[in-house]
């Protein structure tokens, strides 16, 4: 298996008041990563170097980030990463073209010399060598092997959660969305290993297709006709589908027991485009407790239990707690933040006092000045 099909972003995430939406793949994670980094690094680490990436909307920042794919060894003279953006076809108006990219990507997949295809979205952070589930997939002779984790669905994540009901030998007997909260279930990772011919048949009549549709509609309708098996992943798994899950899982990264195996598991590292920022500078009055901080920051105030992305400045006397500050946020002197999420290029002026809550972090949108 050396082919991956990424269904990147057919459900943009809504943040805060809903005015900001972002392709899930381009969502920031863990200080200087984006969710797509996990997908592409896992593929690179599994020897998958032919990647078809189906694009839906708002894919500019995603393409900028991936570039030629060099950070994941995907800049290749043959293979590598190929984007499938929507474009107008023939006489049809632009708004009516969303089925085009998937069908074009399937032509790419069909031509690849590989019997199996990894189908995945780019909404999750985990560290896995796909050759492990592939071994089981091949040995079992399954048409589809769906990857899952044992988790209690988070209340905040239910609308984007898919659960599997399992029968003998890990056969999937049922697929349901919005599973009940409060008990451990078999939660879909949004990743599948599929026999190529089966995949081409399954998607032959599909227009736009994200993994939720792939699970709940396409695959659910084929459970009897196809041999659909499951494979349990036991490592750290984070699925980001909302502001609340963004906050929850980014804060997970303060725990070394979760962070360290996620970023380096058996030598498998998660890669991203490296920037030229200086290391972060801590001033002589800096007080930092239990925080992760990316490069290029200038920290002169107090930071506790925070995830700080690149090029953030925290001025003297500012106090930031339990917050996530994304790239190029500036916190003026004397400002106090608690349970806040800033998007990139936000300015919090001096002496401002912003307070959210553990269950409801307050989101400040791109480029906003408070």
């Amino acid at each position: 298996m050396h082919v991956g099909l990424c269904l990147s972003d057919l459900h943009p995430l809504l943040y805060g008041d809903g005015s900001t939406s972002r392709t899930a793949a381009a969502v920031h994670f863990g200080g200087h990563y984006r969710l797509i980094d996990f997908t592409l690094s896992n593929m690179d680490n599994s020897g998958i170097h032919n990647v078809a990436m189906v694009l839906g909307s708002q894919y500019q920042s995603l393409i900028n980030h991936i570039g030629a794919g060099r950070a994941w060894d995907l800049a290749r003279s043959s293979g590598g990463i190929t984007f499938f953006p929507p474009y107008p076809a023939g006489e049809r108006p632009f708004h009516d073209i969303r089925d085009e990219p998937l069908q074009r990507a399937l032509v790419y997949v069909e031509r690849a010399r590989s019997n199996h295809v990894l189908v995945t979205d780019c909404s999750s952070a985990y560290n896995l060598d796909f050759r492990l589930p592939l071994q089981q997939h091949e040995a079992s002779g399954a048409d589809v092997t769906a990857l899952y984790v044992r988790q209690q669905p988070l209340d905040i994540d239910r609308p984007h959660t898919v659960a599997y009901q399992l029968g003998e030998e890990g056969a999937i007997t049922g697929i349901s969305a919005n599973p009940t909260i409060g008990e451990e279930q078999n939660i879909s990772m949004g990743a599948f290993i599929v026999r190529k011919d089966a995949l081409l048949r399954l998607l032959a009549n599909e227009g736009s297709c994200d993994v939720i549709r792939f699970s709940c509609s396409v695959l659910a309708g084929a459970l009897k006709a196809l041999k659909v098996r499951s494979w349990l992943y036991e490592g750290y798994y984070a699925r980001v589908s909302s502001l609340e899950t963004f906050f929850h899982y980014n804060m997970d990264m303060l725990d070394p027991r979760k962070r360290e195996p996620l970023f380096n598991s058996g030598g498998r590292r998660i890669n991203t485009g490296v920037r030229n920022s200086l290391p972060t500078k801590y001033g002589s009055e800096a007080k930092v407790r239990n925080s992760i901080v990316s490069n290029g920051c200038l920290i002169e105030g107090t930071v506790e239990n925070c995830v700080i992305f690149r090029d953030v400045q925290v001025k003297p006397g500012a106090v930031v707690r339990n917050s996530i500050l994304q790239r190029n946020t500036l916190v003026g002197s004397g400002a106090e933040l608690n349970w806040i999420v800033t998007d990139h290029d936000v300015i919090i002026s001096a002496e401002r006092n912003l307070l959210g809550h553990r269950n409801h972090p307050v989101y400040i949108g791109i480029g906003k000045v408070v």
């Binding site: 970023f263 490296v274 200086l278």
Partner: protein, 377 residues
């Protein structure tokens, strides 16, 4: 480099073959230009970035001493945008020739042995650089000056305190900055205009003198000691180009430490107006549980102890109860629980054992303690 070659107005030759013996253990496994600096750079980043930002995209890197890591680091030059179809960065170690084969016997000999590389780009000018200085400089401004004064050779100079002048190549100039005398490391300097080891030559003039120098058995085949005096003696037009700004030769352990502390005081070297580019490593953000003040910390570090006035490169770890002061921790170095590190340089992948004390408070004029790194098992 695929023939036919494109012409380049100016080709840079970067001298990167020396051992840098004054850096002691830090160059036991890598050439000096590959020594780490400022938490995420290596010395050669500064010269390569300056070239690229000055519009010079054809660079020969002359390597000899322990080139493996340096070659691997520079590679095809992608981090500096030097992986080009026309020009780019070329690693030039000594080679076996059809008639004669030899190690580089001096800086001038290294360029002489690669004269065919230079010729292949048919340049008007050749810029000769050292690969181990910390500075930001627009070589195109120097080249414009070189053309304006119709020089055959231009040397970048900086004013140094007279008492330090005997460490440098020292020039005397007339009122229009034409060089009248050049003394390499004079015992009794008569001027404080020091050579920065940055030369622009008209290629035809340099070529002629390299050829001449090659025939002289008594020559050390060195730019400062042989080529510059010979060009001056031949009455060619040689000018000083005065550089204003930060420049530091980090060729000793103490100056390397001081250079790192300069970056800590003024991190302007990383600002976007003249970005120093580097082959970065992918590591997660650093995690701080302990205390950090007045320090630079790169990605991948884990700090549970106390860090003051220090520079930590990617992946450095300071365990619980450990104290690090006034020190430089290179990549993946480890200070175990309860250890104390004072005025020291921890080389890459070095380990300070739990509970031990390394280094003593700084006394100016004495070098920092070096903890050797682990390069190959």
């Amino acid at each position: 480099m695929i023939t036919p070659f494109s012409q380049k107005e100016c080709v840079a030759m970067l001298l990167a073959g020396g051992r840098g013996t004054r850096l002691e253990d830090l160059t036991a496994h890598v050439a000096k230009p590959a020594v780490a600096f400022g938490g995420r750079y290596r010395l050669v980043d500064f010269t390569l970035s300056n070239c690229v930002l000055s519009g010079i995209d054809t660079i020969g890197v002359l390597t000899q001493y322990l080139p493996l890591f340096l070659h691997d680091y520079i590679g095809k030059g992608q981090p500096w945008n030097l992986d080009l179809m026309s020009g780019g960065v070329f690693l030039l170690p000594p080679y076996e020739g059809s008639s004669n084969s030899d190690w580089y016997s001096g800086s001038a000999n290294a360029v002489y042995q690669n004269r065919h590389f230079i010729e292949s780009y048919n340049p008007t000018y050749v810029l000769v650089l050292a690969g181990d200085h910390i500075y930001k400089m627009d070589y195109s401004a120097m080249l414009n000056y070189h053309k304006e004064v119709k020089a055959d050779c231009t040397i970048a100079v900086i004013e140094v305190p007279l008492e330090e002048a005997s460490r440098y190549g020292i020039m005397r100039v007339n009122t229009s900055d034409r060089i009248t005398r050049f003394d390499e490391k004079p015992a009794k300097p008569k001027s404080n205009l020091a050579s920065m080891g940055i030369y622009i030559f008209n290629w035809q003039v340099l070529k002629e003198h390299l050829n001449q120098d090659n025939t002289e058995d008594s020559s050390a085949h060195d730019f400062g000691r042989n080529i510059i005096p010979a060009i001056l003696a031949a009455k060619h037009r040689m000018f000083a180009y005065r550089f204003q700004g930060y420049w530091r030769d980090v060729g000793t352990l103490e100056s390397l430490w001081e250079g790192n502390m300069d970056i800590l005081e003024d991190p302007s070297l990383g600002r976007p107006d003249w970005p120093i580019m580097t082959r970065g490593r992918n590591r997660p953000p650093h995690h701080i549980v302990g205390e950090v003040t007045n320090s630079l910390v790169a990605s991948g570090c884990s700090i549970r102890g106390k860090v003051e006035n220090s520079v930590l490169a990617s992946g450095a770890t300071v365990e619980e109860g450990a104290v690090v002061r006034n020190s430089i921790l290179m990549a993946d170095s480890l200070v175990q629980q309860g250890a104390t590190v004072e005025y020291s340089i921890l080389d890459e992948r070095s380990v300070v054992n739990a509970g031990t004390t390394i280094g003593t408070p700084r006394v100016a004029g004495t070098p920092p303690t070096v903890v050797p790194g682990i390069w190959v098992s």
